[in-house]
Symmetry: C2
């Protein structure tokens, strides 16, 4: 029962060495461009390796190198909405192809998370990025005595001794409020998400602080209720419009909530951005480019976050002291038609 007409065995370094008439050690040096091999033998070995289709086994190399060139990503992000950009960023941190990422989705199950963690450790990954986000933040620490560098990304660890990197939500709220103020809005309301999330509170805090500095005030609904669903977004928008007359701008804690606000405004025949400006958080392409009008949003820089997280890991591996605690990364406002009209055609 063999797999038909496939080479029974991979080509090994010993095969190359034999075919080239040199020893394993010489072949190894020749291929890795090490000092100490003659130019002619080097080219000969190279040619033979090419002809034989030699693909060096990373597994064997890892055994001596001590490094695997692999980082693990442990997540509960079922949607993959946060984790994929972070993964892309981590790949970029080292040149592509230098680093592989093992992605483990614990799906909110603690047992599965432990099992994944064990497997990752046995595979001798060089570092671990923990991407929180699906549940309440911050996420519980995996513990301090792990034998590798661990970085918590997106949602910080509950343990301040851990290394965490996250988007600066407060700055996001601040920039959002400043943007709306700069286009002349003076009656700005905030639509929060699930109030147990730090992100929702921080974004409000940032906006509030920015407006206070400018001489304004942030209009908020009571924060006791709230969730990340559009249903809640519609409810909150309607309530704010009813109770606070004269609102001319909304900051929503997510793009989906902003979309809900747009829907309610449309139902009420209020024009966006003329009567009311709307902006969201996440800059999630699938949402922001599909709404009417397209949605101004705070981009959390997730790819940059992934790149930064990976760079923290490499720093720790090369012996640098990586300061524990939460490292907040900048965000930016992406302006679209829902705050500043710029389009030619509307539908």
């Amino acid at each position: 029962m063999e797999i038909a007409d496939r080479p029974r065995r991979e080509v090994t370094l010993a095969d190359v060495a034999r075919a080239a008439g040199v020893s394993k050690s010489t072949a190894s040096k020749a291929l890795r461009d090490k000092y100490g091999v003659g130019a002619d033998t080097r080219t000969r070995v190279r040619e033979v390796a090419e002809k034989l289709g030699f693909r060096p086994s990373a597994v064997a190399r890892q055994l001596t190198a001590g490094r695997t060139g692999t980082v693990g990503i442990l997540t509960n992000d079922l949607e993959g909405r946060f984790v994929i950009p972070i993964l892309a960023g981590a790949e970029d941190a080292l040149g592509a192809g230098e680093l592989s990422v093992i992605l483990c989705d614990a799906r909110g199950d603690a047992i599965r998370e432990r099992r994944h963690l064990r497997t990752l450790l046995e595979r001798r990954i060089d570092g671990l990025i923990v991407v929180g986000g699906a549940r309440t933040e911050p996420r519980p620490s995996l513990g301090r005595d792990l034998p590798l560098p661990v970085v918590y990304a997106y949602a910080p660890s509950a343990d301040p001794e851990d290394v965490s990197v996250a988007a600066d939500d407060r700055l996001g709220g601040l920039l959002a409020a400043e943007h709306l103020w700069s286009i002349g809005r003076r009656s700005i309301a905030y639509i929060g998400g699930d109030p147990t999330y730090d992100a929702s509170r921080e974004r409000a805090e940032g906006a509030r602080a920015a407006l206070a500095a400018l001489g304004g005030e942030l209009i908020t609904a009571p924060m006791s209720a709230g969730s990340w669903t559009e249903r809640w977004g519609r409810l909150a928008t309607a309530r704010l419009l009813d109770e606070q007359p004269g609102i001319d701008a909304f900051i929503a804690a997510s793009d989906m909530l902003a979309r809900a606000a747009l829907d309610v405004l449309r139902d009420r025949r209020l024009r966006v951005p003329d009567d009311v400006a709307v902006m969201g958080f996440d800059n999630w392409p699938i949402i922001v480019t599909n709404t009417r009008p397209e949605l101004t949003s705070v981009d959390l820089g997730l790819q940059e976050l992934g790149r930064y997280a990976a760079s923290r890991i490499f720093a720790a591996l090369s012996g640098e002291e990586v300061a524990p605690g939460l490292d907040l990364r900048p965000v930016r406002v992406v302006v679209r038609d829902s705050t500043v009209r710029n389009d030619v055609a509307a539908d």
Copy 2:
């Protein structure tokens, strides 16, 4: 410059053996529950291993085993919308923890794809799942002479000699039409996506066939234009409503298109589902549970697809003949309020 107070070196099998006063071979057998070790030595070795925190190196094991317990997933799915459920399914195929997945996102770049492929082969992954979808389908083959089992998932390979698994789009269209027919709709229109996608055409074909069998006919817009954006969805819906009076149901080729249809219907003060029923494709949680009303949709069974793809790989690895070609997997309709009213509260 060492990382402070972390064990300089992982505990190795030799350490355990020495501490337990046995040889490496005995320790290995004791830990792996192999026949040929005394009961007392076995428990002693186990206890020592536990005390020392021994974690066997998967890298070393892979070297002799020839298997890595790793599959690669190569994708262009920037959103992670398809690939995450498929990844979860693949993990399920073998018990969790038995299998690790290296996820590589080529981001639509052919060079990056080649580089990722090379890295994956060097890492001696046991099999490869190629998840297409972001671009035009089917996707080009990676070639026939790869030294491992390859399965194309979601978007099939262009080469019929490759093994492909995909959701049965035609069946989806068929089931959708039957569902709408069963609730009394007789004037059913189809909103297609990008017409260069097989998926969009197949779904229409299935619906057309089902209606033909029932004595009906599928109303379609000219298929020359079209895309997966909501803008297109709104345009197509409006055009169909204008040109074809009496439409009482829409099948949209994606949930986002369906959402666009819902928006247009709401603008026109048409009630859903009373006046017009709407359903989509993908059963994408973030959409279907957030629309007004919640959206009936065809679930493509992506997780099952991932599980199936992985099982094909294991079958090939264990020597079974895996038939090449396209293997279509069943889909199912998930009924919500946009076709059959079931809710208590509306907003």
